[in-house]
Amino acid sequence: MKDLECTIVLEPGRVIVGNAGILVTRVLYTKETPSKHFVVVDAGMNDLIRPSLYGSYHAILPVRRAEGAATLTADVVGPICESGDFLAKDRELPAVQPGDLLAVMSAGAYGFTMASNYNARPRLPEILGKGEQYLVIRRRETYEDLIRGEEIPEDL
């Protein structure tokens, strides 16, 4: 192409940002049924829809790890009232307790951009770690943000 003196225009997305971002979520509850373990976390399909929408695989790591910790195989599910609300299915995880933090890896691409306010959930903050500091590059939405633009007309 050199001799053509053309400029090549490239359009990378995921290849640059995919692994540069994660979603950090907290375990709310653990739940056992006769057939399955569930780990209920505070992030849902409205925050990261790729697993529900495409069956995408995201590694899930404990934020605090312990050597030789017991493991279990569980579905990691969110708080959304949809059976399709999951971040992982039949995933081997260290046994977690309510309050533990999990990191959903490779969430830098098609994560926040596909997030919604479904179930009237404010969208998440975006944090940028830089050396020893971190920057809030988007604050968490508030309940007021949820209704911005809505009006109840007088003659309703």
Binding site: V9, P12, V17, G21, R26, T113, I127, L128
Partner: protein, 249 residues
């Protein structure tokens, strides 16, 4: 490679322990690594250093203003697919001459906004869209720079011929019909054909196979230039290169 690593069994983003962030901003939250973003951008950029290139980051993957700003300061541009993404790119300080606009459903309002912003070019996806861009540009008294999408591997037996009329066919244009397609596009008022837009369909983290695949396009570029179509840009969307198959591009 990324900068989310354990230190003393606690996961960090660069030097920051994630539990500290969780304590201060609450959960859940998205967390990006500045070092990983810049490293990935730089590695990609350096891979194409031997050839003149422009990296138009695809906003659909992540459109946070600070992240766009970061890539912009590293020489990056933007690949946008809506008026809203164009707004974001401009607001983040991406120079308009580094913005390309793709997508099959551009509205007249969005086209006008992009023309007013004087972006680098439109990646045109259909003949009707080309007509509308021509009309909007004519009304505004400006030229629209466009790239046409070429499909190098389409079976003519199963694909509509451009010869049935550019007005009816959809892009991509079969490469064998591309010259005709370009000539028809060039005949439209206020359309300036400056680029070729082609899906290579391979993962483009290596330059070798990528350059080989551009051979056909190079040939077409020469042919079009001989006919007076001043191709200056070859737009090559990258396919997903994450470890596991998924959506988007």
């Amino acid at each position: 490679m990324h900068h989310f690593q354990y230190r003393d069994d606690v996961l960090h983003c660069e030097e920051v322990p994630l539990p500290s962030i969780a304590r201060e901003v609450g959960t859940p939250f998205y967390c990006y690594s500045h070092a990983t973003l810049t490293r990935h951008f730089r590695v990609f950029d350096e891979a194409f250093a031997p050839i003149p290139h422009l990296i138009c980051f695809a906003l659909k993957a992540n459109s946070n203003l600070s992240i766009l700003k970061l890539f912009g300061t590293m020489g990056g541009g933007a690949d946008v697919v809506s008026g809203g993404e164009l707004f974001r790119a401009l607001r983040a300080g991406i120079p308009p001459d580094r913005i390309v606009y793709a997508g099959v459903g551009k509205s007249r309002e969005e086209i006008a906004y992009a023309l007013k912003s004087d972006i680098l070019m439109f990646n045109v996806e259909s003949s009707q869209e080309m007509q509308v861009i021509s009309e909007v540009a004519t009304n505004m008294g400006v030229d629209a720079r466009v790239a046409l999408r070429i499909n190098p591997d389409v079976d003519p037996k199963t694909h509509p011929y451009i010869s049935t009329g550019l007005r009816k066919s959809k892009f991509g244009i079969d490469i064998s019909q591309a010259v005709e397609g370009y000539q028809l596009a060039r005949a439209l008022p206020r359309i300036r054909v400056v680029g070729i837009h082609q899906h290579i369909g391979s993962q483009i983290t290596e330059v070798g196979p990528f350059v080989d695949a551009l051979g056909k396009i190079a040939e077409l570029t020469r042919e079009l230039r001989a006919l007076g179509v001043a191709i200056r840009y070859v737009d090559v969307p990258s396919s997903g290169t994450s470890p596991r198959p998924s959506s988007g591009s």
